[in-house]
Structure formats: C-alpha cells, structure tokens
C-alpha cells in the first residue's frame, strides 16, 4: 500500500517550512520533501550549517534570520524527508518520489508545492563556456562551501540579487573586475511613478540604497546601460566584451556571473497541467492561483515564488496562508477561523508585494536576452541556437512543442528549464505573435531523473 497523509509539502525554503509548520500545528499529518540535505531552500541554503563566525558578516542579517524559520520547522511534528526528489505529481494528490535508492508513491489529501524560483537563464553569446555561471551559483558556493571565484570576476545584468552578490563577494575577498548593469536611465524614469506605492515596503528601498552605497564607498563604479554582453574564450572564459556609450569594451576575466532576475519554477505546475498565465512586466509564466495559492488543480496549492516572484518574506507569509486554507479544507478549522488567522497575514503579503511594480519597471530582462542573436545557444542540452529556432519557424514550426520534433530543443535532461522561456519568446518574435499565443512546452514526468534501479525497487502500490 502507498503511504497516505493529509498534506505533502514540496520544498524546504521559507514557504515550504512555514506551510509545514503551520499545518502540523493545526493537527494535520504533514510530510515535507526536499531535494537538499538540510532546510533553507536556496535563499537560506545551509542556514543550519553555515560557518557563522567567518561567513555571517559577509552573508548578512537577512540571510541569518532564516535560522528562525528552520528552527520553528524543526520543532514541529512535520515528517521531514531531506535528500528526497519528487519526480511526479498527480491531480488526485498522489506523488512519486525517490530517496535515491527506492522510488515510492505517497497519497496526500492536499499538496503544497513550494518549489520557489530559478534564476532566469541569461542566454548571451558564450554563456556555455566554463567560467560563466549564474550569480546565484556563486552565492550558493559562498553559503555552502565558503568559496569565492579565484581570479578576475565580472558581474553582469540587473536586479537586487546582482548587487547583493557583488557586495557579498567583495566582503569575502573576491577580485571584482567590473560590475555591469543593463539598467538604463529610462528604466529609472519608468519606475518613478511606482515609488509612492513602494514606500509601503520601504525596508526594501533602504536596503537597496545601502547596497549600492556600499559598492560606491568601496570605489566600485557600476557601469550602467550596458548592452551586447558576450563571453569569449577557448573552452574556458577569457574575456567579457560589452558595449557602453556606443564603445566596445573588453575585460579580462575567468569568471562571469550573470543575473537578470528570477522566475517561478513551473516544472510541477506544468507537469500537472495547471492553468498558467503570462506575467508581462517580467516576461515569465506563473500558475494561476487565488489568494491562498490554490491552482486550477484543486488538490494543489503553490506557496511562495513558484506562484510569482515576491521574495523570501512574502514566501514565508504565503506558506502560512496556503497551510491555513488546507487546514480549513480538511475540516480542522472553519472559514471564520481561517479568516481571523489569515487577516494580518494577507495584509502583510499585500504590503510586501507593493515593492514589486517598482522593481518590475526598474529591473527587467534586457531585450537581447529575450530574443538573443542567431549565434547564441538557447537549448544548452541539445545545443540549439536562436538561429536554428528561427530557421525552423521559417520552415513551418509553429510552437515550442513542434520545435521538439525539429530539433530536440527542450528534450534534454534539463527539460526546458534553461531554454523554455527563450524558445517561446524567439518563436513569438519570429512569428510576430504574442507569447501567450505561442505557449510553452508540455512537460511530462519524471520531472527529475530517476534510475531504472530506483523504479525496480518500488513496492507494489
């Protein structure tokens, strides 16, 4: 028989930890699955194990306070399954997972997927070279291994994380050769009308200002309005080339950290075929959810950045909200109880969200990564370039799923995580249609690799 419980939570970031804690406090039987060996998600990665004495100051207070969320979760009665990969979710509330040895099925009355965000892939010419990484990857190496890039490092793109990582790397002693931002003066102008609303969450504004000031105080000049960023080298990165003020500039570097914001991780919501909508300001897909995170698949709720990017604090609040709705649906509290407990949380969620219209205008993916030049690799697994995609469209490919048959684009091990958004954008651009009309890959399980051995070890269910 497969295991049967009230609530399965997927992901141990702030949303998942909060959801599991609240649901178990209300008497639900809760299992939390997470791929990592310890709680925290990416934002609070290694929060229990980090070397606080030497890394605490570098990583900062916002990171360290994640310890409180993990602690509350550890004290809860939720059944925690670290190093566990969920590879299939079904609309009836069952899910398939593996501990790395044996695959198993679990049946839950409800599932809260708190699988958060991934960094937006930044397809530029040369981004497949060794030495080119996501900025978040460098941050993960600081958090988990107290490591920094060895040698001249360029940080390029836009968004709050870019400046945070630059500050952290500087404090940790990395050699920062250049900070390049794609943000232009007109982005600041476009953001100004949203500033009054953003004041409701003014802690973000003051933090942002502090980060920029720190960098300037250290003598860094942030090069703004950068375009045509590309990486060159023979197998490994040697130079970063970019354009600023119509001048082409070269910087020697052996590490290039790219960042242009984060996007919802839609692997689970796409695999169950939940409804998605196109969020135009940040040009990403997000599942359609109500205020409790419930998707078009009734048994499945999303908490946190997986439902749209609002950040770690809002994710924690959303975790509590999704849990309260689940507790209500499973009959432990009535609607009035839910609303009484949820009231302050909903107000805080709205307040935290009020910074987003400003951030959306200020930091958005640059046009050249949305529809990259022909020579750029889009699908890293199957090595399909933007030019290949345009050629296929000219030959009659109408959408991402047809493109698979032409090129295997999106059919490699990452299952479209790295190319999906770009493929839809490039096809939409080539066909002169809105992205909504072009759609996205149809995703099928297993959404993470599972070995034949793990499947063979499954008990009859």
């Amino acid at each position: 028989m497969s295991e049967s419980i009230d609530l399965a939570v997927i992901g141990a970031g702030p949303a998942g930890l909060a959801a599991a804690t609240t649901a178990s406090e209300h008497g639900l039987s809760v299992v939390l699955f997470d791929e990592q060996p310890a709680p925290g998600g990416q934002i609070f990665r290694n929060i229990e194990g980090v070397d606080r004495a030497t890394m605490g100051d570098t990583l900062g207070e916002d990171y360290l306070k994640g310890g409180t969320i993990a602690e509350a979760f550890r004290k809860s009665s939720a059944d925690y399954r670290p190093s566990a990969t969920v590879w299939r979710v079904d609309p009836d509330g069952s899910l398939a997972w593996t501990d790395g040895t044996t695959a198993r099925i679990l049946k839950a009355r409800r599932i809260i997927a708190a699988t958060g965000a991934i960094e937006r892939p930044v397809p530029i010419p040369g981004w497949t070279l060794s030495g080119v990484m996501a900025a978040g990857a460098a941050q993960i190496l600081m958090k988990t291994a107290s490591m920094v890039p060895d040698g001249p490092t360029v940080i390029a793109g836009n968004g709050p994380l870019l400046y945070l990582v630059a500050n952290q790397l500087f404090k940790a002693g990395a050699e920062i050769a250049a900070i390049l931002e794609t943000t232009r003066f007109r982005d600041y102008l476009a953001a100004i009308p949203h500033a009054p609303a953003a004041l409701r969450a003014n802690e973000y504004l003051s933090k942002g200002a502090r980060m920029m000031q720190h960098l300037r105080n250290k003598g860094f000049r942030i090069q703004s309005a950068v375009s045509n960023i590309r990486a060159t080298g023979d197998g490994t990165l040697q130079k970063v080339i970019y354009t600023a003020n119509t001048t082409e500039i070269e910087v020697k570097a052996n590490t290039l950290l790219l960042h242009q914001g984060v996007i919802p991780n839609v692997q689970i919501t796409r695999q169950v075929n939940a409804n998605h909508e196109w969020y135009a300001p940040q040009r990403y897909w997000r599942p359609v959810t109500d205020e409790w995170g419930t998707t078009s698949v009734e048994t499945l709720a999303i908490a946190g950045d997986g439902a749209g990017i609002l950040g770690a604090e809002a994710a924690e609040v959303a975790g509590h909200l999704a849990a309260l709705e689940t507790v209500k649906r499973l009959g432990k509290i009535d609607e009035i109880d839910r609303d009484v407990q949820a009231g302050p949380l909903l107000r805080e969620h709205n307040r935290l969200a009020s910074i987003r219209p400003l951030l959306d205008k200020l930091y958005h993916p640059s046009a050249e990564i949305l529809v990259p030049p022909d020579e750029t690799t889009v699908c890293r697994c199957e090595e399909v370039t933007a030019g290949d995609i345009r050629q296929c469209v000219a030959e009659g490919a109408t959408g991402p799923n047809q493109l698979k048959a032409y090129t295997r684009c999106g059919m490699g091990p990452c299952q479209g995580r790295m190319c999906g958004l770009t493929v839809s954008e490039v096809i939409a651009d080539a066909r002169d249609k809105p992205v909504e009309e072009i759609g996205y890959y149809r995703l099928r399980p297993p959404i993470k690799p599972v070995t034949l051995g793990e499947l063979a070890a499954m008990e009859d269910t």
Binding site: E35, Q36, P37, Q42, G49, D51, T54, M55, I118, E119, P121, W127, T128, S130, G131, V132, M133, A134, G136, A137, I140, L141, T144, A145, S146, M147, V148, P149, D150, G151, A172, G173, G235, T236, N254, T255, N265, R380, C381, E382, E383, G412, P413, C414, R417, M418, K448, P449, T451
Partner: protein, 98 residues
C-alpha cells in the same frame, strides 16, 4: 575556478576525480569540490562534444551531470561527497552498460 576562504571545519573525506585524489570537506557537494580543484569542466555535450562546467549550482541546468560511483547522469551539485567516491566526467552521449 573557486577557492575556499575559510579553513574547513569538521571532517574531511577523499574523493577520486579523473585520477586525482582530492581531500575535501565532508559536507561539500561534488560540484563545489571540483570547482575548487580544477578550472576545467564536468561533462562534454551529446551533440558537439563541447566542454561544460556547472552553471546554476541548484539542480536546474544539468551541466554538472557526471558519473558518480558508476551511476551516470548524477547532478554533481546535488550530490554530497563521500569517502572513497569515484567521480568521472560524463563524456558525450550515454550508452547502456554492457
């Protein structure tokens, strides 16, 4: 290539990577251990044989797919090192073992 900025606390383990013996902190991921040991690559691609190295470090990009203890397609950034672990670069496309 990456360097450690603190002295590792806690135990160390030895892993074998392409003929090298690496002494690494016991709680580190395979991908981190390799980034600190070599400026090189973790796999070659299935189509052109292009050399690739870890990009995301969070299980998304699959560029760190390696052969670990005889199992192919393991994500090195999602795998914690263990004493005696044998890590090989994953070269080109996969084949069924004989």
């Amino acid at each position: 290539m990456y360097r450690r900025i603190t002295d590792p606390k806690g135990g160390m383990v030895a892993i074998h990577f392409e003929g090298q013996r690496l002494q690494v902190p016991a709680n580190e991921t395979v991908a981190a251990a390799i980034l600190a040991a070599t400026p090189g690559y973790t796999r070659t691609t299935v189509v052109s044989g292009d050399k690739r190295a870890p990009y995301c470090m969070m299980g998304t990009c699959f560029e760190c797919s390696m052969e670990i203890d005889g199992v192919q397609n393991r994500q090195a950034c999602m795998t914690t090192v263990a004493d005696g672990m044998i890590v090989k670069r994953q070269m080109g496309k996969r084949e069924m073992p004989e």
